[in-house]
């Protein structure tokens, strides 16, 4: 097999960033699948695009803008009812420790 286009530790790094826990088998499976996707995309490298503007958006249009006028907000109780936990009007999540004490 040729040199894979993505290394196993790159797969694990991306998984870490995405908060995914992969077993060894899953990681190798992902590597193989990502490798074939990257290989497929590599065909594009054969084209000369030096004169082509990069595409940032699939529809050729400029962003429509909105006037700065307030509109009614959502009902807080309805929104909080969808959250697993809420307290004192806030979404409650596990305590975040920002600083080593």
């Amino acid at each position: 097999m040729a040199e894979p286009k993505i290394k196993l530790d790159e797969v694990l790094h991306v998984a870490e960033l995405a908060r995914l826990q992969l077993s060894d088998d899953e990681a190798r499976q992902m590597q193989a699948q990502l490798d074939s996707i990257l290989g497929y995309l590599a065909e594009l490298d054969e084209l000369d695009v030096s004169d082509v503007e990069p595409t940032f958006h699939s529809i050729p249009m400029d962003a429509p803008l909105r006037r700065d006028v307030p509109v009614p907000c959502s009902d807080r109780s309805e929104i909080l009812a969808e959250a697993p936990e809420s307290e004192a009007g806030g979404f409650a999540v596990p305590l975040v420790l920002e600083v080593d004490s």
Binding site: F56, D62, R66, I79, E87, L95, E98, D100
Partner: protein, 488 residues
């Protein structure tokens, strides 16, 4: 020992003063109960479509123009991906490639030396939600999304700053400009103007940069200098002890007077930016940029220079009167009104008089809150008061009393003078009667005067002013005294 040279770059996040959020119509007002100002867009619910706020984009361009940037005819929004409870979508809508403004600068002055600090870019992004730690039951973090989606500009400087003093001067001037152009309310305590500092040190003379630490949580001008100075000293300690500075995020703990490492931010710098597919490019044609440039309010530095040139102010006075945009407006309105009301008064004379009076009497009654300010009376009322001083109706001393009554009652200077008998006594006969009474009551001082001690004239003036409760025209009192005393 060869010294170290600090190298500092600053990232300022400034909330823009639009009424609604960057991508939805929720209001940006500060202080609402938690999560009352939210909707599917700013909560990051699937399927919600962000639409940029025209006003916020214009404010960002205004900031770019005021700081000498090139405004991009086409700029893009990008997704900055990271996981944190203050970010419901898992990404922040920001700008990466092709930001709205690039290549600006800010000129600062430290100890009389001018220096130009480069501004790499000013891009638009949405604010995150606010986390409240250990509140309520204490075992949870509560997330309030009222702030989520508030429009921000991030102003990134070049690493051109060489010390804590320069960093402080840069931040103060930046805040001043953003307030005067109405982009930001300058409120560090409420977090609408926030600063992160990238600090590194290197041996003096070395061109290569040292490893930097990113300092967060510098939310007052008092802390800026202290936090940066402490961080420089910490890094010097590390290097001198034979260690290496680690690239990390640190936060300033004011209570403990030190910076500490922030846990769990190590991998946070891999943001995997990519263009946001929900948002097409932002277009600005040259005509629109030029129109915004023309509409740019006068910058504080230009204003101070003009006041010194045309309105008779010293550099110090101009500084005091331009400490807040509303005070500056007030001064200009009052000076213009006085020049109009008083006959033949030059703008420079009116400016000087109004400037002095505002500094000595008005400012102590003024309170400011962000971009708004409360004044005891309007600028035209102050001009009205100074106009009746000018025409001789009252003197400067009485004017202070009348002003105090204006503040208490809200009445006009003219009404107070008419009601309170404050009008200056300019009746020749009445003044002469009072002068005669004072001279008769003080024969020994009269003898002294006639014996050549003319300095007692001031004593007589004081007595007459006291007897008339300050209402006599001092010039006429002086003349009458001299006439009677010098009479053979």
């Amino acid at each position: 020992m060869a010294g170290y040279e600090p190298v500092i770059g600053l990232e300022v996040h400034a909330q823009m003063r639009s009424r609604t959020k960057l991508f939805c119509g929720c209001p940006t007002d500060y202080g609402a109960p938690p999560n009352e100002h939210t909707c599917p867009v700013c909560l990051g619910l699937p399927g919600a479509l962000p639409v940029p706020n025209e006003k916020a984009i214009e404010l960002a361009v205004r900031a770019g123009l005021a700081l000498g940037c090139q405004v991009a005819p086409h700029s893009r929004f990008a997704r900055k991906n990271y996981f944190y409870p203050d970010l419901a979508k898992g990404y922040q809508i920001s700008q990466f490639e092709l930001p709205l403004n690039e290549k600006g600068h800010l000129d600062i002055e430290v100890e009389g030396e001018a220096k130009r600090i480069g501004i790499t870019r000013i891009h638009v992004e949405e604010d995150a939600a606010k986390n409240l730690h250990g509140i309520g039951s204490g075992a949870v973090t509560l997330v309030d999304f009222n702030r989520a989606g508030t429009p921000l500009i991030e102003i990134v400087s070049e690493p051109d700053l060489r010390g804590a003093d320069e960093a402080e001067a840069y931040l103060k001037k930046l805040r001043d400009i953003l307030m005067f152009i109405g982009v930001n309310d300058g409120n560090l305590e409420e977090g609408s103007f926030r600063c992160d500092a990238n600090v590194s040190i290197r041996p003096a003379g070395q061109t290569e940069l040292g490893t930097r630490a990113e300092l967060k949580n510098i939310n007052s001008f008092r802390f800026v200098k202290k936090a940066i100075e402490h961080e420089i000293a910490r890094q010097e300690g590390v290097l001198q002890g034979g260690g290496e500075v680690v690239q990390e995020t640190r936060t300033w703990l004011e209570a403990q007077n030190k910076t500490v490492s922030m846990r769990g931010k190590e991998e946070a710098h891999d943001y995997r930016y990519f263009p946001d597919p929900d948002l097409p490019p932002l277009a600005f044609d040259a005509k629109r940029i030029e129109a915004l440039r023309q509409a740019l309010p006068e910058l504080p530095e230009a204003k101070r220079a003009r006041w010194q040139k045309d309105l008779g102010l010293t550099e110090y006075d101009a500084g005091v009167l331009s400490a807040h945009p509303e005070v500056a407006k007030y001064f200009e309105a009052a000076a213009e009104a006085l020049a109009k009301r008083a006959d033949k008064m030059k703008a420079s004379e009116a400016g000087k008089k109004v400037g002095n009076f505002i500094q000595s009497e008005v400012l102590r009654h003024v309170s400011t809150d962000g971009l708004s300010a409360t004044f005891p009376v309007g600028p035209s009322a102050v001009a009205g008061l100074l106009a009746v001083v000018e025409d001789g109706t009252i003197n400067g001393k009485i004017a202070k009393k009348v002003f105090a009554t204006m503040v208490d009652t809200g009445k006009s200077a003219r009404a107070i003078i008419d009601e309170g008998g404050f009008a200056q006594v300019t009746d020749k006969g009445a003044i002469e009667d009072e002068v005669r009474r004072v001279l008769e009551a003080n024969p020994s001082q009269v003898q002294q005067y006639k014996g050549g001690k003319t300095g007692v004239l001031g004593f007589f003036v004081g007595q007459v002013m006291k007897a008339t409760q300050g209402a006599a025209n001092p010039k006429m009192v002086n003349e009458t005294l001299k006439r009677l005393l010098d009479a053979p």
